[in-house]
Amino acid sequence: MKSIWISLLIFAAMVLSACETMQPMVDVATAVGVASGKITQSQADSLSRSTKAVGESTAEITPEQEYYIGRAVAASLLYQYPPYSQAELNRYVNVVGQTLAQASDRPQTFGGYHFQVIDSMEINAFAAPGGLILVTRGMLRCCKTEDALAAVLAHEIAHVQNQDGLHAIKTSRLTAAFTIIAAEGAKQYGGQSLSQLTEIFQGSVGDVLNTLVVSGYSRDQERQADATAVAILRRAGYNPYAMVEMLTIMKSQTKPGAGFGKTHPDSQERINGVLSLVGSPGKVSPPAARQARFERALGAG
C-alpha cells in the first residue's frame, strides 16, 4: 500500500512539474500521507525534496546558487589578476556601476552588484554570475569620460542581467547536480553527495571561466549585451554614444587575439551595431562637474 502512496506522490510531482507552486501542493500531499500513516515522515521529506529538485531542473538555477558560482569565478579571476587597491577609485567605480545596475532590468541579484578594478594594463573586463564585475586599469585607460566608463560597466551588467555566464555551464552538469540534490534526501548521502556536488560545482565554475577568459561569448550574446547596455545608459541618463567613443579607442589599442580582443567580436563590428541603435549624436560632452569627478577619480588611480 505504501508503494501506491509513493506512486501517487510521484504522480503529483509529475503533474506539477511545470507549475511553480508545486511545492506547497506536494507538501499537502505528503502531510496527508504522513497523517494517515501511509508513508513515514522521512519518506515524505525525501519526496518533497525530490519534487522541488525536479522543478528546479526545468527552471534556471536559483539566484543563491548563481551567487556561489559567481563568487568562485571571481575568486579565481582575482587570483590571476590581483585587485588594484585604490580605495577612492574603487568606490567611484562602484558608485557608477551600482547606480547603473539599479537602472537595469535586473536590479536585484542574491548578493548585489559589486565592482573591482584589477591591477592589469591588459584591456579587459569580466562579469562573474550574480554581479561581481572586474575591470582592468587598461580598460579604464580607454575611457575618457564617465559616460564611457558607464558604457563599459553597463555592458558587463548586461551579461549579468542576461545570465550569459550561467548559460556557459554545460546542461549535463546541472542535470547531475539536481539529481544529487533530489537523491540527497532519499538516500541521505551526506559527505558523498557533498563531494559530488563540489565536483560539479568545480566543473561549472570552470565552464564559466573558460568562456570569460578563453573562448568568449557568442556574437549574439555580445550584440545583445551592447543593446542592453545602451538601454541601461539611457535610463540612467548617460549618452550611449560614449560606447562608440570607448570602442573606437579600444580598437586602436587592442591587439587582435589578446585580452578583450580575444574574447570579444571585432570592435568595428560592435561600433556598427551600437551606431545602429544610437544614431550619430556626435561627441560626448559631459557637464563640467561630471567630467571633473571622473578625472579626479581616475587621476587618483
Binding site: Q23, A29, R71, A75, S76, P107, Q108, G111, F115, I181
Partner: protein
C-alpha cells in the same frame, strides 16, 4: 477472482486519489498572491522605480503579499511594511530550509542564510576552497563590502547632472 477484485479496488483507489490530487493542484494554482524573496537584501521602494525612495527592506525567504503589479514592479506587504519590490527580487516558489520546510531565517546574517540554500551553497564553497589553492576569496569578500546606499546614488546622479528616465529598471 478475489485477487482480481482486490486489484480493481486498488486501481479505483489510485484513480480516486489522483482526482483528489488534481483538485488540490487547481486550488493551489489559483494563487493567493504570495511570493518569496529570493535575494539577500530586497529593497522596498515608495514608487515602482529605481528612483523611488527606499522605505523598507526584506530578507531572503521572507514571504510577501502581492497587492498589485506595474511593469516589473510589485507592490507588496511584507511583515507590516508596504512598498514596491522589483520582480528580480521575488520568486513564486516557497523557499525552504532543508527537510523541516520552514521559511528561511528572517535575520540576514550571511552564514545562516547560506545554510538555507540547496545545491551550490556555503558548504559546497567551503569544500571547493579546501581543494584549491589558486583562489582569492579574501578579495571577493572585500568586494562585497562596498555597497552604495540609495541616498548616495541620488546625490551622485544629481551631482553629475544625470537625468534618469523615470520608471527606469522598468
Amino acid at each position: 477472482m478475489e485477487k482480481w477484485k482486490g486489484q480493481m479496488m486498488v486501481g479505483w483507489k489510485v484513480l480516486l486519489s489522483m482526482g483528489v490530487v488534481l483538485l488540490l493542484v487547481s486550488a493551489t494554482w489559483s494563487g493567493l498572491g504570495t511570493m518569496s524573496v529570493q535575494v539577500r537584501d530586497g529593497q522596498l521602494r515608495s514608487t515602482p522605480s529605481f528612483l523611488g525612495a527606499v522605505v523598507g527592506s526584506v530578507n531572503y525567504g521572507d514571504q510577501v503579499d502581492v497587492q498589485q503589479q506595474q511593469g516589473d514592479w510589485m507592490q507588496v506587504n511584507a511583515r507590516g511594511q508596504q512598498g514596491w519590490l522589483h520582480t528580480s527580487a521575488l520568486t513564486a516558489k516557497t523557499i525552504n530550509v532543508g527537510a523541516g520546510g520552514k521559511d528561511a531565517p528572517l535575520k540576514a546574517s550571511g552564514k545562516e542564510v547560506a545554510l538555507a540554500g540547496k545545491g551550490f551553497n556555503a558548504e559546497v564553497e567551503a569544500q571547493y576552497q579546501k581543494g584549491h589553492q589558486n583562489l582569492n576569496y579574501a578579495a571577493v569578500n572585500q568586494m562585497e563590502i562596498i555597497t552604495i546606499a540609495p541616498q548616495e546614488m541620488m546625490v551622485f546622479l544629481a551631482g553629475g547632472d544625470l537625468k534618469p528616465a523615470t520608471g527606469g529598471g522598468k
